[in-house]
Amino acid sequence: MTEEAPVLELRQVDKSFGPIDVLHEISLTVRAGEVLCLLGDNGAGKSTLIKTLAGVHPPTRGEILMDGRPVHFSGPKDAGDRGIATVHQFGGTFPLMSIGRSFFVGVEPTKGWGPFKVFDRKKANEIAVQAVQSFGITRIDDGDRLVGGLSGGERQSLAIARAVHFGARVLILDEPTAALGVKQASHVLRIVLEAKRRGLAVIFITHQVMHAMAVGDHFAVLIRGALAANFRKGEKTREEITDLMAGGEAMAGLEASLETYMQSHEGHPPSA
């Protein structure tokens, strides 16, 4: 074998809920140090695919392989133990908990002995702050701050840093930039690149083509539960990808005509 086996691979995976088929014959591979961008419009089956990858739903048919060996996840905890971490749109953290406490939910560091083990706040705060700062978010310096007081981008960063700290090998990012402003989104994209640099396999789910093109090595477009395209960086233009996502319609053409209209009307969009 000349090349290392992909960290995570799907082979011909189908998923149906009762009579409804949601995913059809999905085959995907993610390698260490690569970002796979999963593109798709709303309702294309992205969430179901993520949940299948994260062990929430077992596939109806087909198989999932990790490091070239078939695996069966008994649940999200099992997938997590094997190194698959999912970070949701809002960071999946607890707004009214402190940074240190939320970082260690479920794996609290303790000091003391026997029944008198107490939560080690100082240690938790130190490790959490250090982990986030190592991703370049230096504004977070106080582990007692509430997560709810952080910006959207900082929350995402915290969640990603947490996943990496606890040994994630595959990072599934579910629309991490969807609710963010331009500047915040660029923070998150930088963190995605940092995770990639550290050798993680990243699955980046988005419907913002620009964000995908900024970090992706490898792209997959999902339409109505099937893979409509699977290509590598530089093989397609932004317009082509947008068209694909919209189901082959001339979305890019529409966008272009909108732009021309706005140019000729002092930046105003056409009235509806």
């Binding site: 999946g92 939910v105 007081g149």
Partner: protein, 334 residues
């Protein structure tokens, strides 16, 4: 320098008990002025501390449940159920009192277990579900009491040691329950704020799915919390039956709203995820001071509930304000 002061203020405002502490001071001062020396002296203190102890023991675990995002209404019927279990076992059947107490506490834990099981296995909101179990327990209590004892009240004569442990009054005024309350508060403080288990409770109330994904046994935790509140309600039931020497079927319903009110005045977020044990204790004190202080003041006690209602609204509003402060302090640098 000023940054340091602001940081300190931020820390102070960030603490969930800050609002309830301010509320307690204001309320106490208000009734101290109206109630005069009698309220400031031992009669005043014993009167509100006795009440605070009873409702406080129930409010503590109800508060934990609320932090975890659940409610428990059934405490109102667990309390008389436990009282009557003790009275029937040890009063009617003349079994040893220790057995009666164990039976009473077991009833509470069992109802809690059923509550927890139903809440985790169904999708019924815990508010509705525990109203259901409350009525079920109420019916069982009434039915069995009439069937066994033939009346709605059962008498019991506790031995002096038991009476001293659960029903004594120091100086004829301060009930021993005050010390039990302090003990409960210390243990629950350690559980919520010091042990890792407490972190799970906050996480559960903050975001159930994320908590589960983080590997927290959310179902087991919920069941444990309901068993704890069942135990606490039963414990107060046991104290009451030993203090008064009798158990009544109709007792306990006041604990439903009172316990929830103490918790909310204490700064616990109704939807879960935030709160503190010190806050719950302070909230309970405030509630009891209003409740009892009215009798020491020249105000017409018939209108006392108005103050309690106003206090509750003020507490919720100030809690929201303090929470917003806590979220935003130091978050302004962007």
């Amino acid at each position: 320098m000023t940054a340091g002061v602001f940081r300190g203020l931020g820390r102070f405002a960030q603490r969930p008990e800050t609002g309830s502490f301010v509320g307690l001071i204001v309320t106490y001062a208000f009734f101290a002025i109206l109630g005069g020396r009698l309220f400031l002296g031992a009669p005043g203190w014993s009167s509100w501390l006795n009440m605070a102890a009873e409702v406080g023991i129930v409010a503590l675990p109800v508060g934990l449940l609320m932090i975890a995002g659940e409610l428990d209404i059934s405490v109102g019927s667990v309390l008389p159920a436990a009282s009557l279990t003790v009275a029937i076992l040890s009063g009617h059947y003349k079994l040893p009192i220790a057995l009666g107490i164990a039976g009473g506490l077991l009833v509470g834990v069992a109802v809690g277990f059923v509550n927890g099981l139903l809440v985790t296995r169904t999708r019924i909101p815990s508010l509705i579900l525990t109203i259901g179990t409350m009525f079920a327990v109420m019916g069982l209590t009434l039915g069995f009491t009439i069937m066994i004892a033939g009346s709605t009240g059962v008498f019991i004569v506790p031995d002096p040691l038991t009476k001293a442990l659960f029903g004594a009054a120091l100086g004829g005024m301060f009930q021993v329950g005050i010390f039990w309350w302090a003990g409960f508060a210390a243990i629950i403080y350690a559980l919520l704020h010091l042990s890792p288990w407490g972190n799970w409770i906050f996480a559960l109330g903050g975001d159930r799915d994320s908590a589960r994904n983080a590997g927290i046994p959310t179902q087991r935790l919920t069941i444990q919390l309901y068993m704890l509140s069942g135990f606490a309600a039963a414990f107060v039931g046991v104290m009451q039956v030993i203090t008064f020497g009798s158990a009544q079927v109709a007792a306990g319903s006041s604990f439903i709203f009172n316990s929830i009110m103490c918790v909310v005045i204490g700064g616990v977020l109704l939807t879960g995820g935030a709160g503190s044990v010190i806050g719950i204790v302070l909230g309970t004190m405030t509630f009891a001071i209003v409740n009892q202080g009215i009798f020491f003041s020249s105000l017409n006690p018939d209108f006392g509930s108005i103050i309690i209602g106003a206090l509750l609204l003020a507490a919720v509003l100030s809690n929201d304000t303090f929470r917003a402060l806590a979220m935003n302090y130091a978050g302004k640098k962007t």
